[in-house]
């Protein structure tokens, strides 16, 4: 396994496994994150997974850089990166496409030269790999969108996107977990609470897991909303492998 360890300031370091968006590199970063986290290295406070790097935040008063880098190298040298050690976990995210929830669905359909229904089918067919979270709580950087529905960002970003908005920006697709300004082409909205500070897991998913969008009608959207508000909704996962 090739990697390098670099200090990032005096309270974090980064393990660089590569420099591209690649599911294989992402898989390696995830194995490193999960395995190192289990080791409970004293002084390490958290691990942050990105496309091709793993950032390790630590407390220098507990462990210095040289010692920590040495420890991590020792762990990585014996780590098993082979095969599919991790089960594939996919969260199902219901989305109501078009209409008031997806004002830019016509734009995307026009840009791709296909019907709105076809856009929805292409958008819901892949399982999207969550490469990383960032930008805002629960905001996912997804891989695997069908390039035929790629659409440039809006020229004039909207001042307010509702939480749960599902959009396309260039080759990327994603969801806004919070109300935010934004320039993405909004094609639908999910009724799910992707982010809830009072839940045991404030954010439902993590890097290395997958997202599958499920098209729903408006009635179902409001039905799910009511279930969530009453605490009756069960988030749906598919586990394989």
């Amino acid at each position: 396994m090739e990697y390098k360890i670099l200090p990032v300031g005096d309270s974090a370091l980064t393990i660089v496994f590569g420099n591209e968006i690649d599911p294989e590199i992402s898989r390696i970063v995830r194995i490193a994150r999960k395995t190192l986290a289990k080791k409970k290295i004293k002084g390490v406070t958290e691990y942050v997974q990105t496309y091709a790097t793993l950032m390790v935040h630590y407390r220098p008063l507990v462990i210095g850089f040289d010692k920590l880098a040495e420890k991590i190298e020792a762990e990585l040298s014996v780590m098993n990166f082979e095969g599919d050690r991790m089960k594939k976990k996919t969260i199902l995210i219901p989305v109501c496409y078009g209409g008031e929830f997806g004002p830019d669905l016509p734009t995307v359909s026009e840009h791709a030269g296909i019907s709105e229904q076809e856009v929805i089918e292409r958008h819901t067919s892949p399982d999207y790999l969550i490469y990383m979270l960032g930008f805002m709580p629960g905001f996912v950087y997804l891989g695997g969108m069908d390039k035929s529905i790629s659409t440039p960002r809006l020229k004039d970003p909207r001042e307010r996107l509702e939480k749960g908005s599902v959009g396309i920006a260039g080759d990327q697709t994603g969801i806004y977990p919070l109300v935010s300004p934004g320039g993405w082409q909004i094609i639908g909205r999910t009724p799910l609470e992707l982010y809830d500070p009072n839940r045991e897991k404030p954010i439902l998913y993590e890097a290395g897991e997958y997202i599958r969008f499920i098209p729903i009608e408006k009635e179902e959207f409001f039905h799910i909303r009511r279930m969530i508000e009453n605490g009756e909704y069960e988030y749906q996962w598919i586990k394989e492998g």
Binding site: D10, H57, L133, P202
Partner: protein
């Protein structure tokens, strides 16, 4: 028994040690922007270092308490006016019940930390009382303080013990010696190789001015453009407190407490831990000159500072009791 906000100041929030452990989910840690000032203020009123303080930016609030309390303000040369009686910063002030407290801003310091003896009754969200305005969580209803807000004291009766004999010797304060230009030490990387030799030379030899576009998320600096080999865009990776990234305009942005957890601009360096409080207190218009440091040196400085702080805290606390909570 409560604290009343008469006038909040423009950007006054509750902050503590920060919301740690959620960066992998994209949560900024938030927390004290000036850790040293905040723990100093807390120490003066007999709180734990990690207790939540009221943090204001340049313009301080006007407050009133229903009962007598000890308060302390640190972070700059602020003045505490208790209905006409004036007290300096960096000192415990015993405030009688019902008196109006006005914080007046002086010549040095941007972010003031007001510690209140016994702490405020603010619920923890995800392990922290820090306000995250963007997510609308933590602090007081997830927002900056407003006129008319009333916050209960967590330990009423703490103010019976008058702590006004406590003060901080100057040597424990962090403030720039030269108001014109402050030297800030950084560790190079992790993307120094994205910059040309000339760009790196520019970065370390030029004075950069703190701009008006500076807040708890980040400080934008004005100055000579830092030349990149092929633009500053990178594959997004992690960001730390004090990361110096070079934006599309070629000017540095220093990422602070409310920063994003990841980002796509190349980072030429990171401010060392012991210099972050000093940097955080610089005002728009003040200049910085970045100098190189090594990781071994910066971690040695952290250990020294921590040792000095522990000693100071021991001396200051004397025989007093800590509230019984975990540190």
């Amino acid at each position: 028994m409560a604290m009343h906000v008469i006038f909040p100041g423009p950007r006054t929030t509750i902050q503590d040690k920060g919301r740690l452990g959620y960066q992998n989910s994209g949560f900024a840690p938030s927390g004290f922007i000036d850790r040293v000032a905040s723990r100093m203020a807390n120490c003066l009123v007999n709180n734990l270092d990690s207790e939540a303080v009221i943090e204001f930016c340049l313009a301080g609030p006007i407050l009133r308490f229903d009962e007598e309390v000890n308060i302390a303000v640190c972070g700059g040369d602020f003045t505490i006016d208790v209905e006409g009686k004036k007290y300096p910063a960096n000192k415990a002030v015993h405030v009688p019940a019902g008196k109006m407290i006005t914080i007046i801003t002086g010549n040095v310091g941007t972010f003031g930390s007001i510690a209140i003896g016994g702490g405020l009754d603010i619920p923890e969200v995800m392990g922290s009382r820090s306000t995250n305005v963007r997510c609308g969580i933590g602090g007081f209803h997830g927002r900056a303080l407003q006129a008319g807000d009333t916050i209960e004291l967590r330990h009423p009766g703490f103010g019976k013990q008058n702590l006004s004999w406590r003060w901080v010797p100057e040597r424990h304060l962090v403030s720039p010696e030269d108001k014109e230009t402050t030297h800030i030490r950084v560790l190079p990387g992790p993307q120094e190789d994205m910059f040309t030799e000339k760009g790196i030379e520019t970065f370390y030899s030029s004075k950069y001015t703190i701009s008006n576009q500076s807040d708890r998320m980040g400080f934008r600096l004005k100055g000579p453009e830092v030349e990149t080999v092929n633009g500053p865009d990178i594959l997004s990776d992690g960001i730390v407190n004090g990361s110096v990234q070079i934006s599309g305009t070629g000017e540095p942005i220093v990422m602070m407490a409310d920063r994003q957890t990841t980002g796509g601009y190349a980072k030429i360096a990171s401010i060392i831990n012991v210099d972050i409080p000093l940097f955080a207190q610089l005002r728009p218009g003040q200049k910085v000159l970045f100098t190189r440091c090594t990781i071994q040196e910066s971690q040695r400085l952290m250990r020294e500072a921590n040792k000095a702080w522990k000693e100071h805290r021991r001396n200051l606390r004397g025989p007093l009791f800590l509230p019984r909570e975990e540190e």
